[in-house]
Symmetry: C2
DNA sequence: AAGTTTATATTGACAATGTCAATATCAACG
DNA sequence: CGTTGATATTGACATTGTCAATATAAACTT
């Protein structure tokens, strides 16, 4: 059984130490460089020890993604919860929060959408994703939760626009000179373009 | 020097055979399963033979991406070139073409944006990307080529919207029930939402 | 024609990885 | 005290990308 807090081991559980090590690797070099063996090395355990806490590499990456989905959801929440729903200013705040998160830690943002590397059936991941989506789709407030009305939704379009822009931006794939430092003004303008005369 | 068509070798150059094998692997299992050794095996050459034609794995994947960028650009062109610029119908046609390409071969579409796996400095890749972007950004026709005006552009917003939707769709990350078979109607509606009262 | 260069192909090796099997350790429990 | 169960370790295996050494054969030079 997993001992609680009995003997004084330096920091915490092995699982926790592994997650810390894996996160450092993710932030430094990206998901592809988060290897089980290097993570174990950084955590100071043998190369097979992680198997007791994470079934395989996918499970380890999924655990990281759960943290990051929650982190992003929280940042979006705190950036928008005070603003009135269905307003351009709230939409801009959401876009800003996502862009800021992704620019600050691109590897984390990329991991969130690497469906091939994650265990999408993981309940914790599902919950964390749902939490984020609940916030994203509540931005324009024209529908409640996951419900998609007849044709489409402003919220969905807004989210796709933001995600597309952010994804391409952090990979420098827009092939457009960025004369603006943060890129946020351009995103603001695009959000306004989508919402103009509609809110 | 590379011999031309001298001796009767079954199909074509080794480089060509490698690309064919690599493409089959890409389509079947995704970029992560396009390994140099398996590609060589499928092409019937030794595991080190590819090194003569592709410097490393990245170069092989880049060669695939060049073909796919060109392919996608061509499909967007043929789907839109007859339609009048700066019209919603042309924008919808562009969106349809991209979505169709991605749904038909998701692994190819994903590869295009895997900046970490591609050699973005490769001139052929740059050309192919530029060709695609020229088409994408000409969809709404409010600017000529790569030129980004003062604030933003409808074209850029349109492209980000389409790319975001398509990316999330092929990875089943929208977490929305798809009661529509193709997903195209929903994308149409979102495109209209962006362009309404502006064209 | 003979010799030399050059491109390309092969074999073999190395370190690294994910994962499995066998074993060891060690605390909790009967 | 002995057993059990969770966890850790070592060792092994197949696979991968890449490099070095070598072989081959065509093309070019003299």
């Amino acid at each position: 059984m997993a001992r609680v807090g009995s003997s004084g081991q330096g920091k915490g559980d092995v699982a926790a130490k592994l997650l810390v090590a894996a996160r450092k690797l993710l932030d430094a070099e990206g998901a592809d460089h988060v290897t089980i063996r290097e993570t174990a090395r950084q955590a100071g355990v043998s190369h097979a020890a992680p198997a007791n806490h994470f079934a395989d590499r996918r499970a380890l990456l999924t655990a990281l993604a759960v943290q990051d989905f929650d982190d992003l959801a929280e940042q979006v929440e705190t950036a928008t919860f005070r603003l009135p729903p269905a307003t351009p200013s709230r939409a801009r705040a959401m876009a800003d929060a996502v862009l800021k998160f992704a620019l600050h830690n691109p590897h984390r943002y990329r991991l969130l959408w690497r469906a091939d590397q994650l265990d999408l059936a993981n309940p914790q991941l599902e919950d964390a994703m749902e939490r984020l989506y609940a916030n994203l789709l509540a931005t324009t407030g024209d529908e409640t939760r996951m419900e998609v009305p007849a044709s489409t939704s402003r919220s969905l379009a807004l989210w796709c626009l933001v995600h597309g822009y952010v994804s391409l931006t952090i990979d420098s794939l827009l092939s457009l000179q960025a004369d603006e430092t943060s890129g946020a003004p351009r995103l603001h303008a695009m959000v306004d373009l989508l919402l103009d005369d509609k809110l």
